[in-house]
Symmetry: C2
Subunit: 289 residues, 2 copies
């Protein structure tokens, strides 16, 4: 007999997974059963409520296709993507904070020269994006790879507007100079909503939550001997900084767009003086050899 009851259910079901050959899978399923049954015992859903949950998950699955991942959105708006990010990126206090990769990264970001203008559509307020990549001990990291991507001044990524935006708009893979510095020309990104015409959007509506992410530039920084780091720079003053729908904001990652009047720096960056600037240094943890 199984001895199944509302009090023993988690134990009985966990026991059914005792013969799982892979110990990691066994561990995950045992924990899943414990927490899932704990949730059900806590809220005591009616049969109709449980059916609603089944219907929600089914609709979420049916919304997924080659270009839309509704379960990732669900994970995002429930803060699970950020929690998994936090667990997998326990950086040293000196290192830059991490945040989620998001769905708009392209594996083959286009290599560009320092100073290049990645705004191919000119949609948005021009600005310079510049910084230095350093090791946690303060040493500059020449030859570091800095992968940058962002939405335009209307809040759209190139892949969301094929045909409307040039291919590879607002993307670039840069290599830092002998002082570990990078700089490029771009536009100030705008906040934008995650796709909200599916089940996750309906969940946000039903809970009086908005679907927006505050304005940000994505950065992946990599250097030999160091742990790669995935993060964003958030634009100070953007709407939704205090209520990012995917919980991606960390205070340490917010930077102002400053007005700079400095002919020497303007010439260095290849722009007319005065100009606007977002500065963001990235500090990487050394990996043990």
């Amino acid at each position: 007999m199984t001895g199944f009851s509302e009090h023993t259910s988690a134990e009985v079901v966990a026991e059914s997974f005792a013969g799982t050959p892979d110990p990691r899978l066994r561990r995950i399923l045992t924990s899943l059963v414990e927490h899932l049954h704990g949730f059900v015992r806590d809220v005591e859903p009616t049969q109709a409520e449980w059916q609603q949950a089944i219907d929600f998950l089914t609709a979420t699955g049916h919304t997924c296709d080659d270009t839309r991942q509704e379960f990732v959105l669900l994970s995002d708006v429930l803060g699970v993507s950020m929690l998994v990010d936090a667990i997998n990126n326990r950086t040293s206090p000196a290192a830059t904070d991490t945040t989620v990769l998001g769905p708009f990264h392209l594996v083959d970001s286009p290599p560009r020269e320092l100073g290049a203008n990645i705004s191919l559509d000119g949609n948005g307020e021009p600005c310079v994006f510049a910084g230095q990549v350093r090791s946690a001990d303060g040493a500059p990291l020449p030859g570091a790879r800095v992968d940058v991507w962002q939405a335009n001044g209307a809040g759209y990524y190139d892949v969301q507007q094929p045909g409307l935006q040039p291919e590879r708009n607002l993307r670039g893979l840069f290599v830092t100079d002998e002082h570990g510095r990078f700089w490029l020309r771009t536009v100030v990104p705008r906040y934008y909503p995650i796709p909200d015409d599916g089940p996750v959007g309906r969940l946000l509506t039903a809970t009086n939550r908005h679907p927006n992410r505050p304005a940000h530039i994505h950065v992946i920084a990599e250097a030999d001997g160091h742990a790669p780091l995935t993060t964003h720079v958030f634009v100070e003053g953007s709407p939704y900084l205090d209520s990012d729908t995917v919980f991606g904001v960390k205070e340490s990652l917010i930077r102002p767009v400053t007005d700079v009047d400095d002919p020497v720096r303007a010439e260095h960056y290849g722009v007319a003086n005065p100009f606007r600037l977002i500065e963001f240094d990235v500090v990487l943890d050394r990996v043990r050899p």
Copy 2:
């Protein structure tokens, strides 16, 4: 600022649902976030493992269509369907134990006379199924509705074999006589596997679990002034009684198939003597007026 960290994540995300107008939805989401984040903190999934979870849920959604509900199967094999059943059917000690409805019930079960033979295909070992419906105080319940459905001797329901089995095979809606008794002719059902060619089947395979349910007859009993009751009778001696893949078995619901040599009863049931018999009485709780 949200103050999101791996330690505060559940609190921060729960707070984002604080403005949910429906208090029940707010309560459910708050609890979901707490238990879901507890699970993630407990197992500390890698990014790749979390992606596997997303892929599994997506495949489960894509397996659902008009005739297949893979999320219900997932709920079943994780014991959640039975837990929800237990929570929603806290019957008195005198009442018959409940178990899950399952996916094969038809709302419009065909009305049949007492003693009718519901085995229209003759596939299986003939037997009589009989019992009495009583109130928790012992009083027989004349005019109670007893809805019965089951798999045939090969382990298939009619709806799984359209064209192969007669329509409404092994289904019947009976009304108890003046003593609260019902009886009908049928066949001994066989154990059967739940659909195991999808993601849930792969989960069972990966965890060395079989997909089978032990042999059973479904019963819904209803009587005026009483709470309706959904349950199974399990066939004593069936394989998988101790490992029902959906955790539906309760010891109180197992009955033997007995050999009966009694010409008077045989005549009453309309069968040749000797005959085989499964007896199952159903006790219903009175509802407060």
